[in-house]
Symmetry: C2
Subunit: 343 residues, 2 copies
């Protein structure tokens, strides 16, 4: 088994000297023309396959350009799913390529469901799914993650275990309560992997539900907490069962850079939780806004930038589309400098 997820992540942050996560959100219309043309020449009659090929090629360029600088990448699966099965294959290969380059991966998938379905998602993204050629074998679960059954012959057909996505961690939505989180925790813990639960999201309307005040048990409204704080208390308690040597948990929290006041409260509620912080850059968050997400030791958070890095070439005339990877590298170095002022 791998080391504890939080230790792996914090080690990588210390080694690289920064907490940057590069968001791989490859919007096709922003991918340089020369990459798209090449892919469409290769698959002129299969636009899904061509699009997926362009995305993967683009991602590889970005990963090559930033792998020696940053500790983490976070591909957002929506931009791959829109190209069907080839898009999903490009997602899988992006994760694999990032691993080859020693990057930690966060599958930004925001999955959620009731227990048995959450288990299937957890196996898909963090673990393995056992595949039995026999089917319907008493006592064997087709969705059990049992590594020990690989190669076993049963019911006349070979059983195998397959890994669909093989990410180091996944983002999840906790609206369904602990039933929907614990299956992810179980698989993550056994694999040295992690999860990040949505607590306070970076979008403008996140307060509609997350900022609502929740009644205390005496129905007096004194010391009332907001829903995002309650979610924070849950995340803290879920993660407390297994802290790494770094003092951090494998159950992280998503806390948007666009809400620094709320982040400050959440940092107090969840001292041992690693924050995944979206909203820096294109969404408006700056270095000062992310500061409250960190602990006093300068650790405990990773800050994501997607568009601001991967499409930096659009905003800088020095680089043409051909220089998109160098532009991404320069933007990453600038972000590193920017964050030095606060962590």
């Amino acid at each position: 088994m791998q080391k504890h997820f939080a230790d792996r992540l914090m080690d990588a942050v210390k080694k690289k000297g920064n907490p940057i996560c590069v968001g791989l959100d490859p919007r096709l219309d922003k991918i340089p023309e020369f990459i798209c043309n090449e892919a469409f020449k290769k698959f002129p009659k299969d636009p899904m396959k061509a699009a997926a090929t362009a995305i993967l090629e683009f991602n590889k360029g970005i990963i090559d350009a930033v792998a020696d600088i940053v500790p983490v990448v976070k591909p957002q699966i929506a931009f791959y799913e829109c190209f069907g099965a080839p898009g999903v294959q490009a997602y899988i290969e992006t994760l694999d390529y990032a691993h080859e380059k020693d990057l930690i991966t966060i599958a930004d998938a925001k999955r959620n469901d009731i227990g048995s379905t959450a288990e299937a998602y957890a196996e898909a993204f963090l673990g393995e799914t056992s595949v039995s050629g026999g089917g319907n074998v008493a006592g064997k679960s087709g969705v059990s993650g049992g590594a020990d059954v690989a190669g076993e012959v049963s019911g006349g057909a070979t059983m195998a275990c397959v890994r669909a996505f093989d990410a180091d961690s996944i983002t999840v939505n906790g609206y369904l309560g602990s039933d929907g989180i614990k299956p992810f925790m179980k698989i993550a813990k056994g694999e040295g992997k992690g999860l990040f639960v949505l607590v306070k999201t970076s979008n403008p309307s996140s307060g509609e539900l997350q900022d609502l005040f929740v009644l205390d048990k005496n129905c007096k409204g004194e010391n009332a907490k907001t829903l995002y704080e309650i979610m924070g208390y849950y995340v803290d308690s879920w993660g407390a069962c297994d802290l790494g040597e770094s003092g951090y948990s494998f159950v992280g929290a998503v806390v948007g850079a666009t809400y620094p006041e709320q982040a400050k409260k959440l940092r107090e509620i969840m001292p041992n939780t690693i924050f995944l912080v979206p909203g820096y850059g294109a969404q408006g968050g700056g270095a000062a806004d992310v500061k409250p997400c960190f602990n006093k030791d300068g650790l405990g958070a990773v800050v994501n930038s997607s568009r601001g890095i991967i499409f930096a070439y659009e905003k800088n005339e020095k680089f043409g589309p051909e220089g998109y990877a160098e532009a991404a590298r320069e933007a990453t170095i600038m972000m590193k400098e920017d964050l030095k002022a606060v962590v």
Copy 2:
């Protein structure tokens, strides 16, 4: 454009004379051995492809057996994603096969994200994604759903629009507020499709957050509503903009059969909302439990059963594994009879 989603769904319910949704959650270990063996013989060295082939074959048998009885099917994507790109392809082909058989489809994917990413999900599941071979063409969005660009030549390469999943509707999680819902609404409305927002889920821990009481504006706790009720008010308001001739909205709600008291309150809050009701059968909900989900006209809800129908052969010795489809048909007819007592 297709007719309004709610009208299509209610017409189908009336035509078939029942509100049953068959959940296509094909857990591989429960798929009959003869189907798995066949698939593994075909793809002996590719367990993902073999598993995906078995799933699709199994689903086609179920769909053939129930298509003349029920109005709706709901494949749960977790059980397909765990087999990677081939699994996702099996999901897409399951949706297509259901359409061929005139069934309405609900993609049970519980997707959610901030605005621009939610738009990509909405295009993937309900709409179309434009694919430009030229890439980076000023003024063209690669994720825009513009049907009018199909075939247009731009930047030296053909532009096309692709449909990844082509479901009639999708389940979504509203924790991020209206930013994360409106992109789904926009695409759904333009396509005659729909969405179902998680309001009160069927799982045991759903109350941890959903049942919390939320303070009123005067902080007195009088007339306090629960979080699931607040979510219900949001869903009602989101859907009010576009009711069909049936009087129902294209923005539906997921309300678990396992919480009939809560369903009763939600029926009052959301009179024009179609409820998607999981939790009947294997999860413990019975006919009496789903009754509060319906309006007085006997409409306004579809009731899902997954395991209880698709794996009925396991519980009935009359059918062997070879008779799984007939067993599913009999279980569906029994469910129809069971529901007649209440709607």
